[in-house]
């Protein structure tokens, strides 16, 4: 579905991504974790066309989309949500989602976009709020709206950037279920998350990024036990063991 090869991105003197490569198979949920500043959102931005990589390629469904502008990528069937939500504030919830439907892969007319919007809003549980002005929503609702907008385009792949951030445990549970249902509907997902339990539970595979380098890749369990990953988060690989030993002792 998605192949990223040797992607490198620099911002002035800062090396944000270095030779990052991975594959995303159809129907998978791929988790992306890493300490703050590791380059996770930058990687999403490269895949989705907001930045062009300095080196490397992004291949989506067999087509080289490296350097495509974001709207072309979206029209190709790759959607994304943002870490800090970006709602279209003065429009209604329904209009927001309709934008996704109209300009995404399926290029709906206004009428059919309306129908798609209603259906998608129902799926994420926002149907009652369809005619509310977006600026009046709270964070959790805006996150669900952002997700609905991405889904309205019926994309092949959706990139979720910290879709659980700022949610309380109940809301997290609901969102995780929604994500799983999306995958069951046939959408391939890649998600950045800091809420570890949720991510580990739901992902089929996990990638770990640190300082722009891919330092680990594998099943959730493998990654959780990988000393390099523990070092990246805690700084000292021995610390985890000592802490656990102290607690036991």
């Amino acid at each position: 579905m998605l192949q990223v090869r040797n992607v490198t991105k620099r911002f002035g003197g800062l090396q944000a991504l270095t030779q990052v490569s991975f594959d995303l198979a159809e129907g998978q949920i791929l988790g992306l974790i890493g300490p703050n500043g590791a380059g996770k959102t930058t990687l999403f931005n490269v895949v989705n066309g907001v930045y062009a990589p300095d080196e490397g390629q992004v291949i989506f469904r067999g087509q080289d989309i490296t350097g495509w502008s974001p709207h072309r990528v979206a029209q190709g069937g790759l959607a994304r949500t943002h870490q800090v939500v970006r709602p279209l504030n003065e429009l209604t919830v329904r209009d927001n989602v309709m934008v996704g439907a109209c300009f995404g892969r399926e290029s709906h007319s206004l009428a059919s976009a309306g129908r798609v919007a209603d259906e998608v809003l129902g799926r994420v549980g926002m149907a009652e709020r369809a005619n509310q002005i977006t600026s009046s929503l709270n964070v959790a609702q805006k996150k669900r709206l952002e997700l609905a907008r991405a889904l309205a385009a019926h994309p092949y792949v959706v990139l979720l950037d910290e879709v659980l951030a700022g949610l309380n445990p109940t809301e997290i549970g609901v969102m995780v279920e929604t994500v799983q249902r999306i995958r069951d509907d046939g959408v391939t997902i890649m998600m950045i998350e800091h809420v570890m339990q949720a991510l580990m539970r739901v992902s089929d595979r996990v990638l770990v990024l640190d300082y722009g380098l891919l330092i680990a890749e594998g099943s959730p369990q493998d990654v959780a036990n990988d000393p390099k990953v523990i070092e990246a988060y805690l700084g000292d690989p021995g610390l985890a063991r000592r802490l656990v030993a102290e607690e036991a002792g």
């Binding site: 959607a79 003065e90 934008v99 206004l110 385009a153």
Partner: protein
């Protein structure tokens, strides 16, 4: 298209059309002049609204489309002896072309930078026209009386011009309403709210912005051709009055940007107010200052304008006050 199924669609342009036709029936010259001014500003404000209200790009140089389009249209009438109708279209097309050319350069600028660039355009356009030989340089061009005989004499020509302006204005309103309730309009409003987010959702922002810019330029060009034809002459100072750009901005904001009704309401209100100020001995010289004060009060306290305020206050009429 869902535009004409909305009740609001049938509010604005039919009222304007009927009002305009009433003037024709009355055959009153003074009323016609008033009507001409009102219709002109309603059309100009509505066209500005497409770029400013729907797309969110503030254009301080909208008058440039008025000036350049009008100059072109008038050129064909006075120097090439064209009849009014094709000259009208030529004027509109000229503005559209200018918009397309300018847009390719400045639409890449965002927000405040775009606004700044449009401020500079006005000066540049005036300087250009001042130096451009075929357009008569600093003295401009004029039309001799004989040109009006084609239309049955000056009086008839004036009425004809009025009717044409009425049609152009009504067309501008219809187009504005249709854009607002179309897929194109939805994309524009997405751009207005958050251009980057809209891009990520698949809106082809560069192309849509250009289309909006070109569309917004079409009507001023046509309106200007009619205006100069009616006046019988044109010179650089007339065509590029910065004041008019400002006043159009005030009209759009006063009435309510982003709505169809707003610019018309704003145009009519502002014009009446201006007329009052200009004829009153105390305020005569201060009408620009008053426009400024008005604008400031609107920006500070009622940024969504009259229509916006009404819509927020009375949600039930939202469908009507579109």
């Amino acid at each position: 298209m869902t535009a004409w199924r909305r009740p609001g669609f049938w509010l604005t342009w039919p009222v304007v059309l009927l009002g305009g036709l009433a003037v024709v029936l009355r055959r009153d010259n003074t009323l016609r002049e008033l009507g001409f001014t009102l219709l002109m500003f309603a059309a100009l404000a509505s066209s500005l609204n497409i770029m400013m209200g729907y797309t969110g790009y503030v254009n301080f140089g909208h008058i440039v489309f008025f000036g350049l389009g009008g100059y072109t249209g008038f050129y064909f009438i006075s120097q090439r002896d064209w009849p009014l109708y094709p000259a009208l279209l030529a004027g509109g097309l000229a503005s559209a072309l200018v918009a397309w050319a300018l847009g390719s350069a400045i639409l890449r600028l965002r927000g405040a930078y775009f606004a700044l660039a449009t401020i500079g355009i006005n000066e540049a356009a005036r300087a250009f026209v001042n130096n451009f030989g075929p357009f008569g340089g600093p003295t401009g061009m004029s039309v001799n009386f004989a040109a009006y005989t084609r239309y049955g004499g000056a009086a008839q020509a004036l009425w004809l011009t009025y009717v044409l302006l009425l049609l152009v204005a009504v067309l501008a309103l219809i187009v504005s309403a249709m854009v607002k309730h179309s897929r194109f309009g939805l994309g524009l409003m997405g751009i207005r709210e958050d251009e980057d987010a809209a891009l990520v959702m698949g809106v082809n922002a560069p192309r849509f912005k250009t289309m909006a810019y070109v569309l917004s330029a079409l009507f001023p060009g046509m309106v200007a051709t009619l205006f100069f034809f009616k006046n019988g002459n044109v010179e650089p100072g007339d065509a590029f009055r910065l004041h008019m750009s400002i006043e159009m901005l005030v009209m759009v904001m006063l009435g309510g940007q982003g709505t169809v009704l707003g610019p018309v309401l704003g145009a009519i209100t502002y014009e009446r107010l201006r007329g009052f100020l200009l004829t009153s001995p105390i305020f005569k010289d201060l009408h620009l200052a008053f426009a400024g004060l008005f604008l400031l009060l609107i920006v500070l306290f009622v940024p969504t304008g009259v229509v916006g305020w009404l819509r927020a206050r009375f949600p039930r009429v939202r469908g009507l006050l579109t």
